[in-house]
């Protein structure tokens, strides 16, 4: 029985997309205990509601995180619309979902690259990000921005996608899908990948439920919770939506769930593009949120369920805007999953919760 050593992990680490610090209590290469620490990118964005009115704040909400930017703008807009009782036209809902699903594809591709890089598979990292570039080109053509789209506003969306552009998008996605299936098969069947991920960082279904985990991490531990299954907005028009669930509960299952979610997003976009209704893309929003009015909203971000809360005070500025992101919910589960693992597997386990610390801290 060796002596316990404390090894600091982060905040600057090649695998981490954002700064996170962990104090790993290690005994003979086995992690015994973990103490997470965040706070390196706290920008106090929620306080900016005092100086920016509810139309301007959407641009701040977008910039909470670069990877989940579209999700935050859609979630914020939906919450304020609920607060003010605004009904968004159907076409705007469809467009929002298409951009959000594309955002999910780009986020998962980014994550797959990082996950491969976590155990040294650098060429996979390059291939995933190469395919991601094609998605970013779609964003650039349809919205004008690659990462921060600024295309959603309270009351609808700002730009439209016409039929030719939509056909182009579908064609590009088909091209991405062909290359992507090859990559996915590699990731899921290669022996080296399996050696590094199967059985690593196991979290049982009971633990995941007790810790209220969300997102692909929970779905890989047999918890079928996905906000998209509530069928709100354009998701209600999908013929059949089933959350992708895996039962193994280890890193391999989480990689598998995210891989399959990319394919599911391709199908969703194709289905919605075919069913897109004609009509206006925005509705004029007049007035201000009523004093004391409250609204809450949940949205399925690529990392899981994101909770939004807004309270009005009778002026153009909101009284309070609160965004609770999936990573802050999953931090506890991550610490539990890390206990008992090998020091070399810490990278992979941390990455499989898809940590988006900028979102957590705002």
């Amino acid at each position: 029985m060796g002596k316990a050593t404390v090894i600091p992990f982060g905040p600057q680490h090649p695998v981490l997309p954002e700064p996170l610090h962990l104090d790993l209590v290690v005994q003979d290469e086995t992690v015994v205990d973990v103490l997470p620490q965040i706070g390196f990118v706290h920008r106090g964005l929620e306080k900016l509601v005092e100086t920016r009115d509810y139309n301007q704040f959407i641009y701040i909400a977008e910039r909470i995180c670069g990877i989940c930017a579209t999700g935050h703008s859609v979630g914020y807009a939906e919450t304020v619309e609920e607060l003010m009782g605004v009904e968004v036209p159907k076409r705007a809902e469809y467009l929002r979902v298409i951009w959000h699903e594309l955002s999910r594809v780009h986020s998962h591709l980014l994550w797959l690259g990082l996950a491969a890089d976590a155990f040294g598979f650098e060429s996979m990292f390059m291939h995933c990000w190469r395919l991601r570039e094609r998605v970013l080109d779609i964003f650039e053509k349809t919205t004008g921005g690659r990462v921060i789209l600024s295309v959603v506003k309270v009351g609808g969306v700002v730009r439209d996608i016409d039929a030719t552009q939509m056909a182009e998008i579908i064609a590009t996605l088909e091209g991405i899908k062909d290359d992507y299936t090859k990559i996915m098969n590699t990731l899921l069947t290669d022996t080296s990948v399996k050696n590094r991920t199967v059985g690593v960082g196991y979290l049982s279904a009971e633990d995941a439920a007790a810790l209220s985990m969300v997102g692909p991490f929970a779905r890989a531990s047999n918890l079928p919770y996905d906000v998209r299954s509530f069928g709100r907005g354009a998701y209600g028009d999908l013929v059949d939506f089933q959350p992708i669930v895996a039962t193994e509960g280890d890193c391999y299952a989480r990689v598998k769930v995210r891989c399959l979610e990319v394919l599911q997003s391709f199908d969703i976009i194709k289905e919605l593009a075919a069913k897109m209704p004609a009509g206006p893309i925005e509705v004029a929003v007049k007035g201000t949120p009523a004093e004391g009015a409250e609204a809450s909203n949940v949205l399925e971000q690529p990392r899981g369920e994101c909770y939004y809360y807004a309270r009005g005070n009778g002026t153009k500025n909101l009284e309070r805007m609160r965004i609770r992101t999936p990573t802050s919910q999953n931090l506890a589960g991550m610490t539990v999953a890390l206990k008992g693992c090998d020091l070399a597997d810490v990278n992979m386990i941390i990455l499989t919760i898809d940590p988006c610390i900028s979102c957590t801290e705002r």
């Binding site: 920016r52 139309n55 301007q56 704040f57 641009y59 701040i60 910039r63 060429s123 996979m124 291939h127 190469r130 570039e133 650039e140 053509k141 919205t143 004008g144 921005g145 921060i148 600024s150 700002v158 730009r159 290359d179 090859k182 990559i183 098969n185 590699t186 069947t189 290669d190 022996t191 080296s192």
Partner: protein, 133 residues
Amino acid sequence: MGSFKLGGMTLGSLFKKPETLLYPFETKPAPAGLKGHIAIDAADCILCGICAKTCPADAIVVEKKDRTWSIDPFRCVQCGSCVRACPKACLSMDPAYTPVATAQSCRVVEVPDPKAAATTPVSAAETETLTES
């Protein structure tokens, strides 16, 4: 075989065109609608200041007395709210990024006074025709 699954893709990419561009010798043409920088058609501006009030980044400053409209392109986040808010539709989003610079600067545009333009040129044209004949 359980390994080297990317063999086919790797071999194929030896003969395919590279995915990347040889920048700066080759550049990608900017797609229409790219959010580059804000341009103003100064003749139509009425100096109402709505764009300055709408801007979430406080990048636009409108001075009514000096008749100037200025934008700080380094504060601008290219959201396009000013373009949509302008009542005279004189602002537009041009698809060219603000070039990299060694110091931050503001772009100041003088908005011509429509009343001044209406009174002077007429007499100039008249004198011209008089001298010609």
